[in-house]
């Protein structure tokens, strides 16, 4: 375990590191950046969009800056983990689509539509009223030292004072073994699994199977 970690809520000065966390979590240990491939964006274009939308700090979807916490040691970034509340009226996916719609090239929409058909069904549905934890990232030299588990615990505890939620969920790729094992070690359980057999899906995602993980009930109050 790393000692003397400073964990705090992310702010505007952390945007570059949060962008790194989002992109690295999308890659899940590979070189595939899903958003770039699905929306026909270069990595730089995607980073520019993320910079803009994170600075808007809009709640209830996964690019909510204030939902992120960052861990530091001696003033150096160690890791980050995002969180957002899955709304009971407007799903996070709808919010994300609305925000991204302003940035995407309309002439590419037919291509995006075609891409959406290939990846259709891979993402499990999030439960309204739950806390979602996503975009976890730990700098390589600090891995295997319990940082991610500390970030999970700390992020849930901080959100307990803000929202009422019966469960915490997260969506990851099943074949991202490091993340998978860390979630199970923390106490998450697998509640849904979605696989797409079309080999083309691997152009858009690092792996072809996503799982919905859940952490709930007494486990939350015991943290």
């Amino acid at each position: 375990m790393i000692e003397n970690l400073n964990i705090r809520q992310a702010n505007l000065s952390d945007i570059e590191f949060i962008i790194e966390a989002i992109i690295e979590s999308e890659k899940s240990g590979t070189n595939v950046i899903s958003s770039c491939n699905i929306f026909g964006l270069s990595e730089d274009q995607f980073k520019d969009i993320l910079k803009d939308v994170l600075s808007q700090n809009i709640e209830d979807y996964d690019y909510y800056l204030s939902g992120f916490i960052v861990a530091e040691k001696n003033g150096e970034y160690v890791g980050a983990l995002g969180s957002f509340y899955e709304g009971t009226e407007t799903p996070s996916g709808m919010i994300k689509a609305t925000i991204l719609f302003q940035y995407l090239d309309k002439s590419k929409m037919k291509e995006i539509s075609k891409n959406s058909r290939i990846i259709k069904g891979i993402t499990p549905k999030r439960e309204p009223g739950s806390l979602q934890l996503e975009h976890g990232y730990v700098i390589e030299k600090y891995r295997r030292q319990g940082v991610f588990l500390t970030l999970l615990k700390e992020n849930i505890k901080r959100n307990l004072g803000k929202y009422s939620f019966p469960k915490v969920q997260g969506i990851i790729f099943k074949d991202n073994f490091k993340s998978y094992n860390a979630h199970l070690k923390f106490g998450y359980e697998i509640v849904d699994e979605r696989k797409v057999d079309d080999p083309e899906v691997l152009y858009f995602f690092p792996y072809n199977t996503k799982i919905l993980l859940e952490f709930n009930g007494n486990k939350i109050t015991k943290l």
Binding site: I38, T90, P91, G93, M94, I95, K96, A97, T98, I99, L100, F101, Q102, L104, K106, M109, K110, I112, S113, N115, S116, R117, I119, K120, G121, T123, K125
Partner: protein, 78 residues
């Protein structure tokens, strides 16, 4: 082709679903209507009806029924 047929066609093509499924009950989250399909759907609606949707309209377009209401407010009759 009248407006309702145009809208049904836009939904069937964007969400890759059968026309029979396109009823007032069809809403975001059902069938293949996820966040990425929503982007394609609203873009197709803009093209088909030659309008520019606002962010409020894009986020509000959560069902086929809502889509008709939003377009109705833009003077498109169904």
């Amino acid at each position: 082709m009248d407006n309702i047929q145009k809208l049904i066609k836009t939904f069937t093509e964007s969400l890759e679903i059968e026309p029979e499924i396109v009823t007032d009950e069809l809403s975001y989250g059902s069938s293949s209507w996820d966040s990425i399909a929503h982007l394609a759907l609203v873009a197709s609606i803009e093209i088909e009806f030659d309008i520019m949707l606002s962010s409020d309209e894009v986020i509000d377009m959560s069902s086929f029924k809502k889509a008709k209401e939003i377009l109705g407010k833009r003077g498109i009759q169904f």
